[in-house]
């Protein structure tokens, strides 16, 4: 019996152990340890990280979407991970990322270097950068790393730490101290074309109100360029968390300005608050 178990263990990676029953007879139990191929584990970790970044999500964002703890995502993204995810976990994550389960396990060549430019994620860091750019914000802010103004704008649009920060963005764009080419490139990279398009059009309106003609034409041409690349068929919410409640979703849609509806970006923002933030900017 023992020899048979040893043979089985060698052949199929089955781990045997013995235990005694109530009458004292030894019984052999075969414990199956499902071992994932080391290559497959690395592939999963690599694909999961790449697809998450491609979707413009942080680990916490993905965890929230897939209803799983954030450390679990971190473990699965680690190449030293030894645990095997359940199929239903993989399915939940795939749905959250908008891909198929097979693409999570597909053995594709490793991307060289970093996939995307780094954008700020931390709310305090974003607030500190916005304040430095002249946004009318007060309260807690802590700068822990420097970023370009374009990265800050895209960071706010991606993370949406608070509605107040979003309200400051068109004002910053209207003043024109931005590299529009870089903004476009970053937005395309992070799939934020619709969100950027909306705030750029609001910025153009604000610049027009302030009669900043040079900026108006530059912003309009950027909006046109973004419109050409616009992502269609998506329902985007410019909010910290997408409202789950259908009635709240309808309310938010109702309160969304026409420009937002045009770009398919929803959020109960008002153009008055955008212009107020612009008026008060330093």
């Amino acid at each position: 019996m023992t020899n048979r178990c040893e043979r089985a263990q060698k052949a199929a990676r089955i781990e045997p152990f013995s235990m005694s029953n109530r009458s004292g007879c030894k019984i052999f139990v075969i414990k199956y340890t499902l071992l994932m191929e080391p290559n497959l584990k690395t592939t999963l970790a690599r694909n999961l990280k790449a697809l998450r970044l491609k979707a413009g999500l942080s680990q916490s964002d993905l965890a929230r979407k897939a209803a799983t703890p954030q450390p679990r995502v971190a473990v699965m993204e680690s190449t030293e991970n030894t645990t095997l995810p359940r199929l239903e976990w993989l399915q939940r994550v795939a749905v959250a990322l908008g891909v198929s389960v097979s693409s999570l396990l597909a053995d594709e060549p490793r991307a060289k270097g970093q996939l995307f430019s780094t954008l700020p994620e931390n709310a305090d860091n974003l607030a500190a950068h916005l304040k430095e750019l002249g946004a009318p914000l007060s309260g807690r802010a802590k700068k822990n790393r420097s970023f370009s103004p374009e990265a800050v704008v895209l960071g706010v649009l991606r993370v949406v730490p608070s509605a107040r920060m979003v309200e400051c963005v068109p004002g910053l764009l209207a003043t024109g101290a931005m590299d529009y080419e870089k903004l476009f490139r970053l937005a395309k990279e992070r799939n934020l074309l619709n969100r950027l398009g909306f705030v750029v059009e609001v910025a153009a309106l604000l610049a027009e109100q302030k009669r900043l003609r040079g900026n108006v034409s530059a912003l309009r041409s950027l909006a046109k360029k973004l419109w050409k690349e616009k992502v269609t068929g998506t329902e985007d919410y410019l909010m910290a968390e997408k409202p789950v409640d259908p009635e709240l979703r309808d309310r938010v849609k109702k309160k969304t300005p026409e420009l937002g509806k045009k770009w398919g970006v929803y959020g109960a923002y008002s153009l008055e608050r955008f212009s107020e933030a612009f008026r008060r900017a330093a």
Binding site: A127, P136, L137, S138, G139, R140, A141, S162, A163, R164, M165, V166, E167, C168, M239, A240, P243, D245, E247, L248, R251, V252, K255, G267, A268, Y269, S270, R273, E276, A277, R280
Partner: protein, 187 residues
């Protein structure tokens, strides 16, 4: 003492400059973003300071030259507020210059209720942050709201917003037609 934030510091300076020109005691109640910032529930706000003051106080402040940006007087009749909101206010020592100028801030619960009527993105965020920070129970919130809505001009709109909020924050269904408690008379 913790240093005041930028807009509040401006308010303090304006009131300090106006103090010698004021000949009678006045009371100012901070509402909106300024009160939210002082209650420490909200981290970041835009630079607006909305104040509730009587028409007499507004004219005194105007004469003293203190009524300029970022101070904006608001009439309480336009807000959804509990009739006893003055009693629940807290005194703000850092901004007051007694005996002439006394500054108060609206209580967090009244502040959350006053934000129900506009219900924009920032308001939704603020109400949620305030109620969570103060650990306000559903019963307490609804009792206060029931009385406030009885004095408000457009309660149908705020009822709908309260329904959505209760569902979002407390995770329970709430029907304003049947579940709303009876308003309590003014004390």
């Amino acid at each position: 003492m913790k240093p005041l934030d930028e807009p509040l510091e401006t308010l303090r300076r304006l009131l300090q400059e106006a103090r010698p020109k004021i000949d009678r005691p006045i009371e100012i109640i901070l509402i909106g973003g300024a009160a939210a910032l002082l209650s420490q529930a909200v981290n970041r706000i835009t630079e607006d300071i909305d104040i509730l003051a009587s028409s007499k106080t507004v004219s005194i402040l105007q004469k003293a030259g203190a009524l300029k940006f970022p101070i904006q007087p608001v009439a309480d009749s336009f807000l959804c507020l509990h009739p006893d909101y003055r009693m629940a206010c807290s005194y703000v020592r850092e901004l007051s210059f007694p005996p002439k100028i006394r500054v108060y801030r609206l209580s967090p619960l009244d502040l959350a209720i006053s934000k129900l009527s506009r219900f924009q993105q920032v308001d939704i965020e603020d109400i949620e942050a305030i109620l969570k920070k103060e650990r306000t129970s559903k019963k307490k919130f609804l009792n206060r709201y029931a009385t406030a809505r009885a004095y408000y001009t457009n309660p149908r709109d705020t009822d709908f917003n309260v329904r959505l909020l209760v569902r979002k924050i407390y995770g329970v269904e709430f029907d304003p037609k049947t579940d709303l408690p009876k308003p309590k008379a003014k004390a």
